[in-house]
Symmetry: C2
Subunit: 324 residues, 2 copies
């Protein structure tokens, strides 16, 4: 791909297109952590976004970009996570049909979220082949348009609106920390921020157990994930074919975090910031906490990407307050 | 007291005085609950305030109102709850000393919050007499000024700034729902709102197990609490001598909620709104949920008063999603 696949103009247009139908999430300054870590820390609370994740932005932009004839055929995706609910909601906003293929081992709360928009998921086997085959079958049968969770330029443009809002909310921001899975959010924010404010550092944060982006940045080409078992379930995806070139060109650095650091960060968000953040969403704060001396004295924004915690799996009360 | 004890002018002055040192908390629109309950529902997220509660406002205003000579003698209060940390923080902002008397059975997280501001609590017996005697002894020994958690007009003025912000953030608000314990927040919001916008309804929300305000409104005079065991620990206080006349004159109605409704509301906030809210803080939403047909079609703001949950007591994961 070329840099032209995604531009600041696309992201600004996406913001105009979606902003009446998304939450302008608050950027929340946190005093105790700022004092503790010696930097001014602000949380971009996308856990308070519709469907509880930034994914609402990209899915809505992609759905609103379809021409009427195409839109009338509906949309389809395969996702075990927040993009599934985001696409269901976007389809409801546009009043078109959506088909959501989900692995049959998806978390109950993610399945319930899709159903809350009146859509019954189509279940498939958990492997990538089954997901793609099932989605492709639905696409051929219905004529629906596939909306990829991150490698679609319209989705990336929608996610990039998070970056525009941070610039508006904190014009003197010096560093933005963004979790990376497939890279749609990171590529969007990089494009939004670096186009106008190349002085701002954008740092990726990735679980050690899902370090394909870090390895890809080292080797200069997309490397495959080695395992799919990080607690940060939203980041168990390979960096995208379209997102990686943007990330490679623009990102300033990447910080890897351990599973324990992610769990501690998630608890710290609940206990001290009073925000329910899912493991993937806490990866940015985990990176800050693990490398805070690098950000001393800076204005730092971290994106809390989502808050759809499976409360059956995470007893937030367990050992809280001990780690952070 | 007369109505002159607290005026809109006092609250506007308080806002100017404190606003650079408090969080302008977001007013968060919640789409799924709005659709479910048939009203436009907005949460004023004071759980995201400094010290995790609106109490940061009133304590800071009271401390900043002291003249220099008085301030130099320090401040003192007795509190088992959020006012203790709020006063500790306010004293730190002004760089004066604070003495905080806490019952020796106070929740661990509330004690830790006070200590996080560098102040060691003075422990006393849990009964009201011991608390007041101990605080009075400290006052006489140190010359510190007592800052009451709710019955102090400067504290009430600070809490009323929540009302000013709601009016700015949602000018077309039609109903505001406010939990009531001692009544400082309610009296402040009533004064702020009714002075300029008498068309807006302000509804109190109170636990059935701490219904002294509801009974007081019926009888026309302050009635004693009958028990102190509601799960909403922040509301286990009698309505104030100074707050009650304002509430009696201005409040539109009061809704009582059961313990189960409070617990359900707290879980719903965590699971669906991704906000950690303590039991007292969820009482407003519990009232809305229990009487939602009264608010059909309206723009409703609810104050989530605080988020200092003792995670040892509340396993948010338990049976979530079943009730709301």
């Amino acid at each position: 791909m070329t840099a032209d696949l995604l531009s600041l103009v696309d992201i600004e247009a996406a913001h105009q297109r979606i902003k009446s139908n998304i939450v302008r999430t608050p950027l929340i300054y946190h005093e105790p952590f700022s004092q503790r870590f010696g930097a001014k820390l602000h949380f971009k609370a996308e856990n308070l976004q519709h469907v509880g994740a930034f994914k609402a932005r990209g899915a809505l932009n992609a759905v609103l970009m379809l021409d009427d004839a195409t839109a009338s055929q509906g949309v389809v995706t395969h996702s075990s996570g927040n993009h599934a609910a985001a696409l269901a909601r976007a389809a409801k906003v546009r009043e078109i049909s959506a088909h959501v293929v989900m692995p049959d081992n998806s978390a109950k709360n993610k399945i319930a979220a899709v159903r809350s928009y009146g859509i019954e998921p189509i279940f498939c086997e958990p492997d990538a082949e089954s997901r793609e085959e099932t989605a492709e079958k639905v696409r051929l049968e219905t004529g629906a348009t596939l909306v990829h969770p991150y490698d679609d330029p319209h989705v990336m443009a929608g996610q990039g609106t998070v970056g525009l809002e941070i610039l508006e909310q904190l014009p003197n921001v010096e560093t933005i920390i963004v979790p990376v899975g497939g890279g749609g959010l990171l590529a969007g924010i990089l494009t939004a921020v670096k186009s106008s404010r190349s002085d701002i550092k954008v740092i990726a944060a990735e679980p050690e157990l899902a370090d394909d982006t870090a390895r890809s940045l080292r080797s200069g080409q997309r490397e495959d994930p080695l395992r799919y078992d990080t607690v940060a379930d939203g980041l168990r995806t390979p960096v995208g074919e379209n997102t990686f070139p943007i990330i490679r060109r623009l990102v300033d650095d990447i910080i890897l975090v351990s599973e324990g650091e992610i769990r501690s960060a998630m608890r710290a968000m609940a206990v001290s910031a009073r925000l329910v953040v899912e493991p993937s969403g806490a990866v940015g704060f985990a990176a800050l906490a693990s490398a805070h001396e690098r950000f001393a004295g800076q204005q730092v924004a971290m994106v809390l990407t989502g808050g759809n915690l499976d409360f059956g799996d995470y007893q937030l009360g367990h050992d809280v307050g001990e780690n952070v």
